[in-house]
Structure formats: C-alpha cells, structure tokens
C-alpha cells in the first residue's frame, strides 16, 4: 500500500467508532387528501411516478434573520453524526448542540407526536414517515435563502418526488441495502455473479456465521426482491411466502438479527451479512491490524433498493434559523466529506459522486460498489411508504418470524 493510501485510510477512518444506520427502502410519498390531514382523513399512497406536493402547513421563517444562539436540539439516528464536525459547527456559530437519538422511525414519530421529543432539527428520518410528520403538523417549511449550499445536493434530489419543491426536506445521505461478506473466507461469490445474491442467506454452509438486519422493512423487502415480487406488496399470500422463506432461513442458517455487520464481518465471526452500503465502508475501521482491508466485500442487486435520509426542521422549533444554518453547514462539501469519513454513509451531494470518492481514495479498493452512482440512484428500486394496514401485516410477519 502506498503512503497516500495509508494516509487516506486514516482520514477515512478518523474519529472513533460509529454505528451505521438509516432505514432502507426509501418510501415514496403519501399525500394527504381530504381535509388538512386531521384525524379521519386517509393518507393515500403515491408512487415515484406520481410526485406529490406536500400540503402547506404554517409559514417558513422570514429572510435575513440572524441565528438565535443557545443550544440546538437535534434528534438523530444512533451515532449518525461525526462529533468532530459537530464540534466545529458549535465553534463556528458559538452555540451548543444536544443530540438525542432514536431507534426506529415509528418510535420517533410516536414520541414526536406525544411531545416526548421536542427537537429543533430532525436528522435521519426517511420519506416513509414524512407525510405523517406533515399531517401531524410537526414540520415547518424551509426557507431556502438560508441554504446557500442547497445546490450542492444531487440534482435528482433537489426536487424529489416525495416532496416536490423540497418544501420540508433536504437529503442527508444516500444508501442501499445489500450483502457484506468476507473475500478471504471461502464465501461462494458465484451467488453474487449470478445475480440473485440474496440466495446466499439460505446456504447452510454459513450457518452460525451469517446475519441479517434487525429491521423488518429491510429484511422483508430483500426477500420480496429475491422472490421477484413487488417490494412494497400488501398481498397477504405473498407475505405468507416470505414468512415461510424466513423460517426456512432460520432452519438453514440460524441468522443473527442485529445491525452489527460492520463489526462482525471485520472480526471474522461472520462471513455473510445482509447490511447497508455504509456498513462495509465503516467496517474497514474495525478490521484487526493484521488484516488487509481487501477482505471486505459488498454486493447489491443491479436494480438496487436505494434511499436517502432527510434533514427536517420542526414546527415548534425555538431555533429555526440556527437549524437552517446547521443544514447548510452539512451541505458544505468539506464538512460532508469529513462526516462521511466517520459515518461511512455517502453524502447526497453532487460534488461527491462515487467516482470522486474513489478517485480521492476515500474508499478502499474492492468496496467501490458500496457507493452509489447518481445513475444507479436514479434507477434504484424505490420502496414506498406502506399503508398502515400493510405495515401491520409486515410487522406481523416479522413477529411470527422472530417467534421461531
């Protein structure tokens, strides 16, 4: 390895441990119809080919205000921000930040609605809860005059179908769901060459050394994708098949269910693990010192299931201007790059496409395909937000699967 490599590896790995996160299956939009989304109105699903303008609730802040100072309350997915970048934000603006984390989107939504969480800024939620956030009057429209870096965002996401005009949201990172594996431990990569790499999750050869994500949407979505079914299906028969498949998986490979691919694969205690694209990039940091970092591999289907997480400002924020400044700060290319080095998740910025990150050697050789090119992103297999009844069916399938 060249010195430059090592240097960049260190840069890439700077900071300390991070937990990968984010939910897969980006959702398309639900548009509220009927009255303003008050109780009783049904939320209707729209597909990517039916973009939605979210209903306007409340006003954006006025132009030209100076920020409020004080402490910015941030609600974030677990360890999903580089503390060094955060510290520099505090320094730059002479403010403090307090980060609260959430485990799942459902919990976050419930706690936001009950008032248990009262953040100024939310970071990491996906489109699947967006319409409900808006319907519950929890978000405020953004004022782009504070977001001078907004044009750094990937072109295709400046006017996203789930929030036409990007009224409420700015994309934070993009990701896909696939399979991480060891290249040096006799993993049969022909599964990945043949196209349907998901099948490896049922190969008894990896029993006890295999894991899947602790996320019902990702797991059921992947099995649906493997079966060639609609990855957002609400069809009970199709879902019953998924349950049977999952139970067969338990019998064949006894998968671990957690989000630890980024530590377990590098440690070698697992050789195959369903994971998010950021996990293997992050995993480099967890490799034992004597291991070369080409031992990590990542596969994702050609018609990848991709998505992006969001920045949102809450309607009751007491520091909306500072929240805008925060978003703008993270849309800055250098800051985003440094944040990427810690979280392992790809910023949704035009200036940092996969090719650039590879060229700058921010990504170890062999893991290039853990990055998502703009073309791949655009062609990605979009999951949509599930209707409540469908979501209930999915959770029941998951409960039955985990019941063993």
């Amino acid at each position: 390895m060249t010195a430059r490599h090592e240097f960049n590896r260190r840069r890439f790995l700077q900071g300390s441990a991070a937990v990968a996160g984010g939910l897969m299956l980006p959702a398309s939009i639900l548009s509220a119809c009927g009255d303003d989304g008050g109780s009783g109105a049904a939320l209707k699903l729209a597909r990517p080919d039916k973009p939605v303008t979210l209903p306007t609730v409340g006003d954006a802040i006025a132009n030209g205000l100076s920020h409020e100072g004080g402490t910015l309350q941030i609600l974030n997915y677990v360890d999903y921000l580089n503390p060094d970048v955060l510290a520099r934000f505090e320094e730059t603006y002479g403010v403090k930040t307090a980060v609260t984390t959430y485990d799942t989107e459902e919990i976050a939504l419930n706690k936001l609605r009950s008032g248990a969480y009262q953040p100024d800024l939310i970071l990491g939620l996906t489109e699947s809860v967006l319409p409900r956030l808006v319907a519950a009057d929890l978000l405020q429209p953004l004022n782009k005059s504070y977001l001078s870096n907004f044009n750094n965002v990937i072109a295709g996401l400046r006017d996203p179908y789930y929030d036409l005009g990007a009224q409420y949201t700015v994309p934070y990172i993009i990701y896909s769901t696939g399979i991480g594996y060891r290249t040096d431990m006799d993993v049969d990569t022909s599964y990945f060459d043949s196209g349907n790499g998901w099948d490896i999750l049922w190969d008894p050869a990896y029993s006890g050394r295999l894991g899947i994500l602790d996320s019902y949407r990702d797991v059921i979505g992947s099995v649906l994708h493997r079966n060639g079914a609609d990855i957002n299906t609400g069809d009970q028969k199709v879902l019953d098949t998924v349950l049977a498949d999952l139970q067969a998986m338990t019998a064949a490979t006894n998968p671990k269910i957690d989000i630890l691919a980024y530590t377990e694969i590098p440690a070698g205690t697992r050789v195959v693990n369903q994971c998010w694209s950021g996990d293997m990039l992050l995993g480099v940091w967890y490799l034992p010192e004597d291991a070369g970092w080409d031992v990590l591999g990542y596969w994702q289907p050609d018609d990848m299931v991709t998505g992006n997480d969001l920045f949102c400002v809450t309607s009751k924020s007491s520091r909306p201007v500072l929240a805008h400044e925060f978003i703008n700060f993270f849309l800055d290319v250098d800051n985003a790059l440094e944040n990427f080095g810690w979280t392992g998740y790809q910023p949704a910025l035009e200036a940092l496409p996969a090719s650039t990150l590879i060229e700058w050697e921010y990504v170890p050789a062999g893991l290039e395909n853990a990055l998502i090119t703009p073309e791949q992103y655009a062609a990605g297999n979009r999951g949509v937000a599930l209707e409540p009844e469908v979501d209930a069916r999915w959770t029941d399938v998951w409960a039955a699967f985990t019941a063993g």
Partner: protein, 296 residues
Amino acid sequence: MRRNSDGQWLWGLLAGPGTTWLLLLFALPFYGLACMAFGEIDPIFRNAVPAWNPLDWQFENFGDVMHEILFGSQRRVFVRTILYVASAVVLSFLVGYPVAYYLARHAGRWRGLLLALMILPFWVNYLMRMLAWVNLLQVDGWATRAFSAFGLQYNWLDGKAITVVLGLVYGYVPFLVLPLYASLERLDVRLLEAARDLGARPGHAFRMVTMPLSRPGMMAAGVIIALPMFGDYYTNDMLSRSPRTEMIGNQVDFYINGTSQPQKGAVLVLVLSAMLVVFMSYYLVSTMRMQRELQA
C-alpha cells in the same frame, strides 16, 4: 378504645398520598392497558386509541392475538417461555438450595462474610452481570476458550436455549438464595435435634423435617424469581437474540416499542398477567398470612 378511633384521621391522612399514587400510577395504567388492548385504531397514524369506556371495547384485536397464542406463532413463544422459566427455576433451586442451607446451618464463622457475599450481587447491576457473560462467551472470550479446552466447542451466543436458561439462572439465583436462607434460618433447630434423637439419619432428617418445613419458603422464593423471568426480554436479547429462543417479553417489547401496533403488545401483556395471576395470588396470600402470624 377512644384513642384507637381518634387517631384514625391521621392514619388515613398518612396512607392517603401513597394509596392515591398507587391508584393513579399502578392500578389505572393497568386498566389503561386493557383499554388499549380493546381500543380502536387511528386511521392515519395507525396508533391504537384506547377505549376508556368498557362499553366501547372492541374484541377484534384481542381475538386476533388470542388466535395466534392458541394456534399460531405466539403459541411457540408461550410454550418456550414456560419451558425456559421452569427449567431456570428448577436449576436455580439445585444451585441455590445447598448454598442457602449451608449458610443457615453450617457456615459458622464464615456466615457474616458469606451473607455479605450473598447480598452483594444485588448491588452489582443486573445488566453489568449479563455484560460480563456476553464478553466471556464471545467466540474469543475466556469462558468459550476454557470450555473448548474441555472439548466443548460451542458458539454460546449463537441462539442456544441453554445459554438463555443459564443466563436466567445466573441473573436470578441471588434473589432465590436470600429468601431461602431466611426461611431455613427460621426453622426450629430443636425439631431437627428431636428427629436425630429419635434416630433419624441426617439425610432422613433432612427429607422428613427440613424439606417439609421449608416448603412454604421455597414456594415463595420460587415464585419470586419466576415472575420476573416470565417478563424478561433483556437477558435473552443480550445472550441470544435469535428466533430460536424468543420469549414472550421479546414479542411484547417488539410490538410496543418497535411497531405501530402497541395494541397487540397490550394483549400479550394482558394474557401474560392472566397467566401469572395464580402465582401472584399465591405469593400475596402467603405473604399476608405470614404478616398476620407475625402480628399475632
């Protein structure tokens, strides 16, 4: 007589706040759980809306979950939970009874120290004690390596029932030893002496005198560790986290904390409580009886 009655207002006043607290934060929430289990679903947010008036209760959700418990996937979870708890309680007795017996009868000059050591685990956080085992049982952990030296090549954290059951034993046995010790210590030694004077051999005396006399204490101690085991999910999560070892608590945790269907979790909790009510009543009645004996 006079005095007994004229202090009454004071006693009522003293008992008032605590009683009100328990009504508002223990009894009413439990009722709320039922209202949730029998409530309705908000059409947009899909969260359960509790029905506070029993006349409005709907039974569809309850029926769905009951069906799963009786015939579906939840049945496996319930059966497994009962088996695990039963095994863990029996093992806890095998481990803990001799310890309590030694402490009550033979510890001699070590008694003070041993008693301190028996109380000490209460002061070591439960989660820390589990964390300790998780570290030891890793593939490269010390316990795993020690076991493999004896030819026991085992991935202990790989969804093994035995790991979960032993974890429960390790976690809860201190809660068994102390009450057992208390009940054994209370036994009248003269009864044993009498048995011995009448010619009973030690084993015989133990079976005929000690065991029967300590039975109420044993029952109470068994119940007091079985109850929390039935609701335990964290021991399992830390040591296994596999569909092969899923217990009721894990399903409750999933439905209440991880989904937008808390009403299903509420039904599971209600059914679990109904199952445990026998044990709970046994413990309460025997406690009340003991209390009355003490008062007399």
